[in-house]
Symmetry: C2
Subunit: 83 residues, 2 copies
């Protein structure tokens, strides 16, 4: 069966976010009253697995091995069956 | 008052996603059974506004002027008051 995983990878609190900083500065130059911008990334992954549990275990592994950097990133994900 | 906006910017369907493609290939090299990966970006923005309606109008403008490219990106956002 096919499953869709939605993985969000964001910087841990306290880690500097240069892209967010740049975006904030650009928005301020355009006169928007912004105080903070943080950027995170969402991976939408279609994968094959025999059950939702297997799909979740695979996605957990992908996060740890490739998608997130354990030193500086937090991640959350959800998996659902692809209709 | 301060508001938090969560803006998600993703490529329109049909637009190629080189970062998603690269991520898919890396996951396949690690033997994960993935068929597709698409990457999108989430901006978490803290901004000042006098009402939720004003905050939403500002974020809509930020999307159109800076955060999203109207040719290739779709965007969605939600705004809530910062507690």
């Amino acid at each position: 069966m096919e499953y869709i995983a939605r993985v969000e990878v964001s910087l841990k609190p306290g880690h500097s976010d240069p892209e967010g900083e740049t975006t904030k500065n650009s928005l301020k130059e355009l006169n928007y009253p912004v105080r903070e911008v943080r950027v995170s990334k969402v991976y939408r992954i279609i994968l094959e697995a025999s059950s939702a549990e297997e799909a979740e275990a695979l996605v957990e592994e992908m996060c740890q091995r490739l998608l997130a950097n354990p030193v500086k990133d937090d991640y959350t994900f959800k998996v659902e069956e692809k209709i």
